[in-house]
């Protein structure tokens, strides 16, 4: 193959694919039984990191950036004047195999602009995956994009070769979608999602009876939402995230702060800063939902539509529910321990194991590694020394903010917030 041409294509098509945040290579367990190439581990591996601090785990590229759609938020939209390119199927296969053999990547993340129609595009994506699996004996990770509107039959095929499938919902509200992507229909996104969910359930059930049933998309499916493009609230975002987790058994929902790439009067201006902090708070909320046993209505509701930017969502919840505190570290159950600000799930399990031997005091807690500066106001332990003053949520928040050092400090001005 002509090296320079490949390099140019790779540059264009990697550049176009980078706005997809998902890079997980975890959640699948594929062995390498016949001494072929590669396997996947449940943990996933990040092989490198870009200068923006995101991980590079997969060869993340578009098959082509030619596209028939004209979505306002997308760099590869039809009306955008950029260089276009397309890979041949064999070229993607060669790149993947050769990068993989050198331990650069965990596998392939293949997406595509939509050319001709949804089914034609989906079919090409599937043939890359099929070739890798059947001809190259490749057992590494494959993440395919489900093309909105692709037929059920193709989606069934896709899951047999891919570890993960994903459809990006991109805009969390239907009204926002109408505004920014007028040619796309909400149902087109949902259709492949539904099919994949049903197939996963069906294959899992069959596997219980017949052990040799092939695995179908073992790493499940995921989706992504752009935030800060249509003026939606955090509540809108997290409620739809919770909906997709529940209804479509999503493994992950990703949140991607909108990066202004195009001038368009429907969108924030080009100079708008990427809402990195907001993104961070949304991920924290996501974690609270998935691992800490919070329900979405506890964190966001009609009286609390947006997350606080200056404190994390768990602390914010605790300040709104001060009547539940202080909690006794040596007696509280797991659910309540997980709700204490400054204590993570790792510490929770250490506390539970350690307290079967003795009552824990501050030194123990410190050694275990909880964030005392936040937790101290919410707990009691085997010590007479604990925080007794009854503070209002507001003054407690300021007290904590003063003692903590956040990398986001530059975004806030303590003085101003006193009067807001």
């Amino acid at each position: 193959m002509s090296f320079d041409r490949i390099k140019e294509k790779l540059s264009i098509l990697a550049d176009a694919a980078k706005y997809d945040v998902s890079c997980a290579s975890s959640g699948s367990k594929r062995a390498n039984p016949n001494k072929g190439l590669g396997n996947t581990t449940t943990m996933g591996i990040c092989h490198s990191y870009t200068e923006d601090g995101r991980c590079v785990s997969l060869l993340k590229i578009l098959l082509t950036n030619y596209c028939i759609y004209d979505c306002a938020y997308c760099v590869t939209r039809k009306s955008n004047d950029i260089k276009r390119a397309a890979f041949k199927i064999q070229e993607v296969v060669d790149l993947t195999i050769n990068f993989y053999r050198r331990n650069y990547i965990e596998g392939l993340f293949l997406s595509s602009g939509i050319f001709k129609n949804a089914d034609y595009t989906m079919e090409r994506l599937i043939s890359v995956a099929k070739k890798l699996r059947l001809e190259e004996n490749f057992n590494g990770y494959i993440h395919l994009k489900s093309i909105p509107g692709a037929s059920d039959e193709l989606m069934r095929k896709a899951g047999l070769y891919a570890d993960r499938l994903s459809v990006n919902i991109e805009i969390p509200t239907i009204s926002g979608l109408k505004l920014l992507a007028p040619d796309k229909k909400h149902e087109d996104f949902i259709k492949p999602m539904k099919k994949v969910r049903n197939e996963i359930i069906q294959y899992k059930n069959e596997r219980k009876i017949i052990k040799s049933t092939p695995r179908y998309a073992p790493a499940g499916q995921s989706t992504q939402m752009i935030i800060g493009a249509t003026g939606e609230t955090d509540r809108d975002i997290m409620y739809s995230a919770a909906y997709y987790y529940k209804k479509y058994n999503m493994r992950r929902v990703y949140y991607s702060g909108y990066i202004p790439v195009l001038e368009d009067n429907r969108l924030p201006s080009l100079k708008t800063e990427v809402p990195i902090l907001r993104e961070n708070r949304l991920y924290q909320t996501d974690w609270l939902l998935r691992f800490y046993g919070f329900s979405v209505a506890e964190l966001l509701n009609d009286s609390h539509k947006n997350l606080d930017l200056d404190i994390d969502p768990k602390l914010s919840w605790a300040l709104r529910n001060l009547h539940l505190f202080p909690i006794d570290i040596n007696k509280a159950n797991k659910r309540m321990l997980a709700r204490i600000p400054g204590i993570g799930m790792q510490s929770v399990s250490k506390i539970i194991q350690a307290r079967t031997y003795r009552n824990l005091d501050w030194t123990h807690l410190k050694a275990i590694g909880i964030a005392i500066n936040r937790a101290q106001y919410f707990i009691t332990c085997n010590s007479k020394d604990f925080y007794k003053k009854d503070l209002t949520p507001f003054s407690l928040k300021n007290k904590i903010l003063k003692s903590s050092n956040t990398k986001y400090k530059k975004y806030f001005n303590q003085q101003l917030s006193l009067f807001s």
């Binding site: 390099k7 190439l37 490198s48 990191y49 200068e51 991980c55 990068f99 050198r102 824990l360």
Partner: protein
């Protein structure tokens, strides 16, 4: 008062287990366990060289296994591989605690400082192992071996054999630890430990000289890819350095522009 005993061993895991055996068989109180190549000039001590006998090592390990879970055994081994000064004594205290306590595999006492320490160190080693699985970069040489050199903080090569053997089952590969001067080599059947007399045989320049043109092309492609996935408006150098500390850059293809 009895003078303190210093037990010296050859640096191997079995050797260390033999020290524990010695502590019990000779009823030595509060010894210091050290590798034989670590210098020591202490007054009022008795120095004893412990011989590595597989049988003794096996006996200690068997007894230890009886009272611990798989995770605890792994953590014990990982903490040993950390080569942190004095870790042998922490491990000894821990072993004595394990041998004394009742048979209870249910809970781990994280309020015991030795246990907590071992857990923390094991996590550091685990992290380094994971980093090696991520940051090893193979270069295909003319003799058809995917070759890589590295300098991990801890002695993690024994921990990564399994991973690389499973994953790259159909290619010959070699990973060399420049700091500890040994490597692991997979010949399509088994993994062997190898050493080179001269380290120059395995450093980055030599590997590059021995590689094919095709190899250089793929390195260029990878570097091009790496550059293009970066989003400039989200630059975050602190996070970047946190994820790949600079000491690893030397061995990363994408960080050594060609």
């Amino acid at each position: 008062m009895n003078p303190q005993t210093i037990l010296l061993y050859d640096g191997s895991f079995d050797g260390f287990l033999c020290c524990i055996f010695e502590v019990y068989s000779k009823k030595i109180t509060a010894p210091i366990i050290r590798k034989e190549d670590q210098t020591h000039n202490q007054l009022f001590t008795i120095t004893e060289q412990v011989q590595t006998l597989e049988n003794n090592a096996q006996r200690v390990w068997k007894a230890f296994k009886k009272k611990t879970t798989k995770t605890e055994q792994n953590n014990f081994f990982k903490a040993f591989l950390s080569e942190i000064k004095g870790v042998e004594n922490t491990l000894l205290n821990y072993t004595q605690y394990i041998f004394k306590k009742a048979n209870d595999k249910q809970h781990i006492d994280f309020s015991n400082k030795d246990i907590l320490k071992i857990n923390q160190v094991a996590r550091m080693v685990e992290r380094e192992k994971h980093r090696m699985e991520a940051f090893v970069r193979f270069q295909l040489t003319q003799d058809g071996i995917y070759t890589s050199s590295a300098a991990p903080d801890f002695n993690v090569l024994p921990l990564i054999i399994h991973h690389f053997k499973d994953r790259y089952a159909d290619q010959k590969w070699l990973i060399y630890d420049m700091r500890r001067k040994y490597g692991i080599y997979y010949n399509l059947k088994i993994v062997d430990v190898i050493t080179f007399e001269n380290v120059f045989e395995i450093n980055n320049q030599t590997i590059k000289r021995k590689s094919l043109d095709e190899e250089i092309d793929f390195q260029k492609l990878w570097t091009a890819y790496y550059k293009n996935v970066n989003i400039k408006s989200r630059k975050n150098s602190k996070l970047h350095h946190q994820h790949i500390p600079k000491r690893y850059w030397k061995y990363l293809t994408e960080k050594n522009n060609i």
